[in-house]
């Protein structure tokens, strides 16, 4: 025990210097023109699209193979919640766009308020998602559940895809919310302002992409004709 403590004690200065090095790195400033930052963001978004693209490939194949079961399984989804969620995300896209444009005009408080609205809408989206999933799980429908395994493979695959795709999307919303909080803090601190708005603008791009993904996921899962 004492040995371990002594060891920690002996490396403590090293850790301190290490943290200092990391801090210095975070503080480092580079000249970066805005078009470059935005280009990097768009490339990242393309990568994200293809991450979901893999899932869309799988979806289209299974949809083709099991179109009837997909239709049946989709009926079990909660369409009202899906629709409300769509409206929530579309509106949050509007608020973040307004937040960016008001920041560019120098109206920081308006920008901050729109940002908070976006955050709340995103939280509401995740809350409804939670309600929806809890309901499904209560019905015994989740991956590998005995109830689900009794059904035919088309429905098993539908719910497999449903949980993976919607789950991955939800994870992206969560990441987006965390970034929104960070942006809010940076705006309050004045680090992100009318002269340096690119972090917020890139956050907006990411948030809109998450919205676009939902625009496709919603009809593919909830509205199968």
């Amino acid at each position: 025990m004492t040995g371990a403590l002594m060891m920690v004690g002996s490396v403590y200065p090293e850790i301190k210097i290490g943290c200092f090095g990391f801090y210095r790195l975070l503080k480092m400033k580079y000249y970066q023109d805005e078009t470059s930052s935005k280009m990097g963001m768009w490339l990242f978004l393309s990568s994200e699209i293809l991450l979901f693209g893999g899932l869309f490939i799988l979806y289209s194949v299974y949809r083709f193979k099991f179109s009837h079961s997909f239709h049946l399984a989709a009926e079990a989804l909660n369409r009202p919640i899906g629709t409300v969620n769509t409206l929530l995300l579309l509106t949050s896209s509007l608020t973040i766009a307004l937040s960016i444009s008001s920041l560019k005009e120098g109206k920081r408080s308006v920008s901050l308020l729109s940002l908070i609205a976006t955050l709340l809408l995103g939280l509401l989206f995740l809350g409804l998602k939670y309600v929806e999933w809890v309901e499904k799980i209560d019905h015994g429908i989740y991956p590998n559940s005995p109830r689900l395994l009794e059904r035919n493979s088309g429905e098993i695959l539908f719910f497999g895809l449903y949980y993976s795709m919607i789950g991955l999307h939800g994870f992206h919303v969560l990441i987006g919310l965390i970034v929104l909080v960070i942006m809010g803090i940076l705006i309050i601190k004045g680090k992100v302002n009318e002269d340096h708005f690119i972090p917020l603008e890139n956050t907006g791009l990411y948030w809109h992409l998450v919205d676009i993904l939902w625009v496709f996921l919603f009809p593919l899962f909830y509205l199968i004709p």
């Binding site: 023109d33 805005e34 078009t35 935005k38 280009m39 768009w42 490339l43 393309s46 699209i49 293809l50 693209g53 869309f56 490939i57 289209s60 194949v61 083709f64 193979k65 369409r79 629709t83 769509t86 409206l87 579309l90 509106t91 896209s93 509007l94 766009a97 307004l98 444009s101 008001s102 560019k104 005009e105 708005f197 603008e201 907006g204 791009l205 809109h208 992409l209 919205d211 676009i212 625009v215 496709f216 919603f218 009809p219 593919l220 909830y222 509205l223 199968i224 004709p225």
Partner: protein
């Protein structure tokens, strides 16, 4: 940002208009889903989704105003083409297996 460092300014009015169209299109898809369109149903749903996302891309994400830089002009069509090719080639296997 435009081509040479001029920020893109869209009035809040434009954004609200686009948002209203998006909400309208959502209502349209949901009500379409209730009707029986046969095999066209999926096509219509995807078409509306494509229109909605192109509105978001062009207005909310300002892609429309960045087209002077070639990369921004081609990136989304390019990726869609790639994805269509990936799905198409996979279907060459799945359909004819």
């Amino acid at each position: 940002m435009g081509m040479r460092g001029k920020p893109v300014f869209l009035s809040p009015k434009t954004y609200v208009w686009v948002w209203m169209i998006l909400i309208f299109l959502t209502g349209l898809t949901v009500s379409f889903a209730g009707m029986d369109w046969g095999r066209w149903g999926m096509v219509i749903l995807l078409l509306v989704a494509t229109i909605k996302s192109s509105l978001i891309l062009n207005y909310f994400m300002h892609l429309r105003y960045e087209k002077k830089i070639r990369l921004f002009r081609w990136i989304i069509p390019g990726i869609l083409l790639l994805l269509v090719l990936f799905i198409g080639f996979t279907f060459l296997d799945v359909v004819f297996r």
